[in-house]
Amino acid sequence: MEYILLIISAVLVNNILLAQYLGNCPFLGVSKQMDTALGMGTAVVFTMTLASIITWAVHRWILAPFDLVFLQTIAFILVIASLVQFVEIFMKKMMEPLYRALGIFLPLITTNCAVLGVALLCIKKEYSFPQMVIFSFASGLGFALALVLFAGLRERYAISRIPKALEGTAIGLITAGFMSLAFFGFKGMT
């Protein structure tokens, strides 16, 4: 039960994109097409879970014992950046089509605050290992869900008549705002 609540909370109520406003760059950048949005979403789910596990380990066995928790942020950035690089190299060899679909957006994950944010949150909330894994995976899912929904909307925009001044990113931001409001509706569920 506790895990289910954790998942619902991470996916819907505290959606990383729409409730915590982390990771806006890919949210606007890769949301024009359903295909890429799906790819990006999957990549984030994957990276986020992996990053949280590794950072959790780093915190637990390196930073905490040596009393270096103040180094948390910078150490996590380093770890995540290397991890994303690693994922990129790995995907290029093993998952060529996905690599191509994500194109320039993979390095974007490096600077993706959502990933870092989730890693830090896991520590802050003092999750146990299974909780941490589930939370970060669910957060990734929440990210993917928001991204895909948003891409669906934006695909429609491409063929609608929109005032010139609002075309492109402008209408994207407005829509993101509305979606965020909509997601606030989940508040109080947990």
């Binding site: 180094l71 770890v79 690089q85 190299i89 089509p97 429609r156």
Partner: protein
């Protein structure tokens, strides 16, 4: 502090080590060819090639899974560059361009139904695709927004216009159009296509023997896009200059504006754009498919032969025309007189056809100078025989061998063989067809004082084009109806008088035809020094020799070449026919349509070995499209071509009619109702509306 440094350094070192190892383990050797190919591709990621983006396409090309010309987005230069990278030579791929069959018409109901919804897909999603018009365009412009190459623009009446110069055939518009009325079609497919009952065909399109897309080119003219108008016509008829002048335009008879007003002057419009092309002094480029390596011989260079050769050439075959006369054109040159069709214009038109790469041998007669054995030995894979109807029927009366007696075809042909006929002052023409009228009007221009046209039925039965009859009357040709010659009287071998007998028409027989019969002892004499017989023609089949391949050819009892109606194939499988020699004397546009039909058959015969029938082939008019009233039509006068003064034109062979001005052409084009199968048929629409309403789906949506 030291701890912090060591830990950070350690983490950094481990990360670097891991990455280093990973990049070694997971190293991907990029095929340099792929990179080069990808650089040569446009990078539009349009997906038109069927691969997910340009990189995937580059990989496929570099690994040999796809040909170097799969890129539809970049056009021929890109294909060439890619091929250069791959070290291959490119064989031009025939472009496939987007087009829609919807020609507009009255689509208003659709538009008002979806008030406020500005997009086809949205309308389609909301109403689940159930809408009154099954085929027509909604006019919301989804396709325009979806085109990555800006090749679609919205026309003034919200029908998309496809710009062939920009269209790359990527297919995005097709995927986005909810009505499924956009298709990618190559020129080859267009040439091979014949009208089907299931299509949205305006009556004029159904009636035209060449099946020209009339509403489309009228629309192009209205918008001032003359080039496209010409290309639309030339998809069906390579001789618009000629037909624009001499065609009796059956299409206008059936024009729906004609039910309430005068029909649209379709043929004037055709002539107008054709003249425009000629005045540019440059033949517009038409597409020619890549060479197939097959060789076809065309016997006879009349409209049927020219049309067949033209379309075969465009389908990529190698064609040689064999013609017995010194020049090409058939009856267009040797029958139709100069004042109706100036030969300079015909020459220019034929030049455009020949320039596509057709070989021509003139002054060679089939049966004398060459035969089927020769053609086989020369490596021809198929033969088209379009020899027309060049034998004149005799009057079978006494005195036909006297001096002053002419055969109409021979008479007309002489003008163009450098040997104008010498005639007397009082000329009698016998017959009521085009040949008779042309001979009469030509005699007048040769200086005859009195020309009388003698026809055994009445004016209503005359087979000649109505306009020609009117022109002949204007020029002062005397018409002697219900009369037939019985004897030609002569003196010293020269004719001086003609004896004729008066006729009357019998009561209609069961088939409704009224036959002429002589009125006993009504013989009359008239003075005449020349008589020209133009009472009918039939094919001159003088080339059949026993023991030769050609002896297998079957001839009908009307002395025409026998063949299958559905394929135009004769008894000799590789010999095809069409035009006057198959149907008997008809009109030029019939021969042109037959030429393309034969080209289709020959194409399939050569490339596939058998000829698939045209499914659902439209041969009769579609009843539902012939609505009998058009509501709310205001009368707009039909355009008239300027013509020479009657007095001026008699003494010479100058062209009588002149073309419309651009303004007049535009005004005339605006008279077109743009009929479509369902769009314009209000009755049918209403009936369908009731059906729909009973389904309940779009009941409220139906109100305007």
């Amino acid at each position: 502090m030291i701890n912090a440094l060591i830990v950070m350094g350690g983490i950094g070192f481990i990360a670097a080590l891991l990455l280093g190892v990973a990049s070694r383990v997971f190293y991907v050797k990029e095929n340099p060819l792929i990179i080069e190919v990808e650089e040569a591709l446009p990078g539009a990621n349009c997906g038109g090639c069927g691969y997910a983006g340009c990189h995937a396409a580059a990989v496929a090309i570099a690994t040999g899974k796809a040909p170097p010309n799969i890129c539809v987005g970049g056009g021929p230069e890109v294909s060439e560059n890619v091929a250069a990278v791959m070290g291959m030579k490119i064989v031009a791929k025939e472009p496939e361009l987007a087009s829609t069959e919807c020609c507009g018409g009255d689509r208003a109901i659709e538009k008002f139904d979806y008030d406020g919804i500005q997009d086809c897909r949205a309308a389609n999603m909301l109403f689940g695709g159930t809408k009154l018009c099954e085929r027509g365009c909604l006019g919301f412009g989804t396709c325009v927004a979806s085109c990555p190459f800006d090749a679609i623009v919205m026309g003034p009446d919200r029908l998309p216009i496809f710009l062939p110069d920009k269209c790359r055939g990527c297919g995005n518009c097709i995927r986005n159009c909810p009505k499924g009325i956009i298709s990618l079609i190559s020129s080859t497919a267009k040439i091979l296509h014949f009208n089907q009952y299931s299509e949205c065909l305006a009556p004029c399109r159904q009636k035209c023997p060449a099946q020209i897309d009339v509403p489309a080119y009228i629309e192009h003219i209205r918008e001032g896009r003359y080039k496209e108008a010409i290309l639309t016509i030339k998809e069906r008829n390579p001789l618009p200059l000629t037909c624009g002048r001499v065609c009796p335009h059956p299409c206008e008879e059936i024009c729906r504006r004609g039910v309430e007003d005068e029909p649209v002057a379709i043929n004037y419009l055709k002539r107008f754009v054709a003249d425009w092309e000629m005045n540019q002094d440059k033949h517009l480029d038409v597409s020619v498919a890549a060479s197939t390596g097959y060789k076809v011989a065309v016997i006879g260079g009349g409209p049927a032969g020219l049309s067949c050769a033209y379309f075969l050439r465009r389908l990529g075959h190698k064609v040689t025309i064999y013609e017995k006369m010194p020049k090409l054109g058939g009856m267009l040159r040797y029958g139709i007189p100069e004042y109706r069709l100036p030969k300079k214009i015909l020459d220019w038109e034929i030049e455009g056809i020949i320039n596509l790469g057709i070989d021509v041998r003139c002054n060679v007669k089939f049966g004398e100078d060459f035969d089927l054995e020769f053609l086989k030995a020369a490596g021809f894979d198929a033969v088209f025989c379009g020899i027309g109807a060049w034998a004149s029927r005799d009057m079978k009366i006494e005195g036909e061998d006297l001096q002053g007696v002419w055969d109409g075809i021979d008479f007309l042909a002489r003008f163009h063989l450098g040997d104008p006929p010498k005639i007397g002052k009082r000329v009698i023409i016998v017959g009521g067809g085009n040949t008779a009228i042309d001979a009469a009007r030509s005699s007048l221009r040769l200086g005859a004082e009195k020309v009388t046209l003698m026809y055994r039925r009445s004016r209503d039965e005359m087979p000649a084009n109505e306009l020609e009859i009117v022109a002949a009357e204007q020029e002062g040709i005397e018409m002697l109806f219900l009369a037939a010659p019985v004897k030609i009287l002569g003196q010293d071998g020269k004719m001086i008088q003609v004896e004729y007998i008066k006729m009357r028409l019998t009561d209609p027989d069961p088939s409704g035809r009224r036959r002429p019969e002589p009125i006993p002892s009504s013989e009359t004499l008239i003075e005449a020094d020349t008589i020209i017989a133009a009472i009918g023609q039939f094919p001159k089949i003088d080339f059949i020799r026993e023991g030769k391949l050609i002896s297998n050819l079957k001839i009908t009892k009307w002395n025409t070449i026998d063949g299958k109606e559905s394929t135009l194939q004769t008894e000799i499988p590789y010999v095809f026919t069409g035009g006057d020699c198959f149907t008997g004397p008809a009109i030029a546009v019939d021969a042109i349509g037959a030429g393309r039909y034969a080209a289709r058959s020959i194409h399939f015969f050569l490339t596939e070995g058998e000829i698939p029938p045209v499914e659902d082939r439209q041969t009769k008019l579609i009843r539902e499209t012939l609505f009998e009233s058009v509501e709310g039509l205001t009368h707009v006068p039909r355009a008239h071509q300027p013509e020479l003064e009657v007095n001026y034109r008699i003494g010479n062979f100058e062209e009588v009619e002149h073309t419309l001005t651009p303004d007049a052409a535009k005004r005339e084009a605006e008279r077109c109702l743009k009929c479509g199968l369902i769009c314009y048929n209000r009755e049918l629409l209403e009936a369908m509306g009731r059906e729909m309403a009973s389904v309940g789906d779009s009941a409220e949506a139906k109100k305007e």
